[in-house]
Amino acid sequence: MKDNNRRGFMGKAFGAVAGVGAIGSLVAMKKTWDPLPSVKAAGFTTLDMSIYKENELVVEKWRGKPIFVLKKTAGMIEKQTEKQKSRDIIINGEHYMICIGLCTHLGCIPAYNAAEQGFLCACHGGQFDWSGNVTKVPPPRGFDIPPFKIDGNKLVLGEAGPEYTKMKETGVTL
């Protein structure tokens, strides 16, 4: 009986040590797979908004992802619905659609058709209008809008300004 107690204790002690070791190694393995600090710190992109032309899609790059910038035409601004207006970004009196150019389904880059004023994703057939809202599934939601801050005629991507915070709070973007 006395011996059994000692064996039981040894078993539990071994289990505890092995358990701590196992958890420790899992933590180390998980952390080793995390994005590196240099990747995370891949800073901010500043866009000069004076260069864009109406209804002409320009693809910028932020954190390795494509950023769609589309300057809206007067016709577009006029017929905007409330839903489309909520995604509108106004810089220096001009209206823009600015968003991450990845389909919210599985991350392909949709193509813009300027004549039809809409986006088509070739991977799984999703469609978006010129404001970035979905017009045909499978994408579950409109294009995501990156954190932005308006600074005069410039736009800083990666920093959350008041306009972005409002969009996030009202659920316009994730």
């Binding site: 995390d34 994005p35 891949a42 390795g64 389904h105 392909c108 070739a122 057939g125 499978p138 579950p140």
Partner: protein, 404 residues
């Protein structure tokens, strides 16, 4: 310590230390195979040989391949293909074998389904086989990343995005898998590691398990007959070779196996030398570009059926249907409620189920290759629904089955 005597020969010397005669009997000459089988029973050996071809060609590719986003593409398409003598041979063997191995796996699987080789004690053979299918799929996907062309990059983007779980938005998990916001250096190096080390080790372990799972229930036969293996083996060893229902694995059955392998290899090397194009997607000869999605993305042919089950639905339902398709084959031994272990043509409704499932998977595969528009989009949608309905119906139709 055991007692050792002075060896009379090299064989005797080894026998005393490693029991090589005993091992040879257990693994080969007294491992018994039923006579009542056909060429479809050789697919296991065909797969072993194909895996060996993948391993050998992979070793040679590994000597020149560079897992770096700046140099990976050229190390494959310039160094291996143009500079290294016979480099093209290893690449074409590797590419063709990676594609053909799935063709043989599907034949192997459907043979098992047709003859009921997943029932009555053979469940672990089926389950370990399906785990091998999963491991081979992961191996194929990770290998597809390595040339770092447009298809590599965008397949990597789409497949890793599956892990965000649709509306769950587990973007952190996706970034953790990639080690970056988008597929980049960290992504390429870790998939390189998975492709050349971790997954091959897992595959070899699973092959061991798959073979071990065969030892006790033994190989099935064309009629699903329950054979008394020790009795039939005794009959054979006592000299009644014609009356016995079994033969030796080596060299007797092996020689038949190798005959099928021989025919297969003629076909295989015909593809390697004259028709390798199907395994080399033209889009992947453009270097990876994160700012330009190719106009039409599709996976390799062997993933098309499950891709087509994902595609026609909105994202959450699509992911659920896709997840269902990935695990449901694994559960086959438990969803088939029938007491019969016989070929499908003697099983009434199951016969219909089998051929309909096979045809439906061929339809899903064809639709998955086509752009998602018009009539093809509709056919794909209904085929995906049919796939799910058929699996739900399987326990019902098999429990209605009469004992044969």
């Amino acid at each position: 310590m055991a007692h050792f005597t002075k060896a009379t020969s090299v064989k005797d010397w080894l026998n005393q230390r490693l029991a090589i005669e005993k091992v040879e009997k257990v693994m080969g000459s007294e491992y018994w195979i039923p006579k009542n089988i056909n060429f479809l029973w050789a697919m296991g050996m065909v797969l072993v040989i194909t895996f060996a071809l993948l391993l050998v060609s992979g070793i040679f590719l590994l000597m020149y391949y560079q897992p770096n986003v700046a140099t990976a593409f050229d190390s494959v398409n310039y160094t291996i293909m143009r500079e290294v003598d016979f480099g093209w041979l290893w690449r074409h063997i590797h590419g063709v074998a990676a594609s053909v191995v799935f063709l043989i796996i599907y034949i192997h699987m459907f043979t098992g389904i047709y003859y009921g080789s997943y029932k009555k004690g053979r469940e672990m053979i089926w389950i370990s086989g399906m785990l091998l299918f999963v491991a081979f799929s992961a191996e194929a996907f990770s290998g597809y990343m390595l040339p770092w062309g447009q298809m590599s990059y965008w397949a990597g983007m789409v497949i890793t995005n599956l892990f965000s779980g649709g509306s769950l938005h587990a973007d952190g998990l996706v970034e953790w898998i990639r080690g970056d916001y988008v597929p980049a250096q960290a992504f390429l190096t870790r998939f390189f590691m998975l492709h050349v080390l971790l997954i091959p080790i897992a595959i070899m372990g699973l092959i061991g398990l798959h073979f071990a799972a065969l030892r006790i229930p033994h190989v099935n036969n064309q009629d699903g007959e329950e054979i008394d293996f020790p009795a039939e083996a005794k009959k054979y060893l006592d000299g009644d070779k014609a009356g016995s229902k079994v033969i030796r694995f080596a060299n007797d059955f092996m020689s038949k196996d190798m005959f099928v392998v021989g025919i297969y290899l003629v076909f295989f090397f015909y593809l390697v030398f004259y028709n390798y194009g199907f395994a080399m997607d033209p889009v992947n000869f453009d270097p990876a570009n994160g700012l330009k999605t190719p106009s039409h993305i599709y996976p390799e042919w062997y993933f098309l059926w499950s891709y087509e089950i994902l595609r026609p639905f909105s994202i959450d339902i699509g992911l659920m249907a896709f997840g269902f398709a990935q695990v449901i084959f694994m559960l086959l031994p438990f969803l088939d409620r029938s007491p019969n272990t016989v070929a499908a043509n003697r099983r009434g409704l199951f016969k219909v189920w089998f051929w309909l499932m096979l045809s439906n998977m061929i339809v899903l595969t064809s639709m998955g290759k086509l752009p998602p528009a018009g009539i093809f989009s509709d056919i794909g949608f209904y085929s995906a629904i049919l796939f799910i309905v058929m699996w739900i119906a399987l326990p019902i139709i098999t429990s209605l089955e009469k004992k044969v």
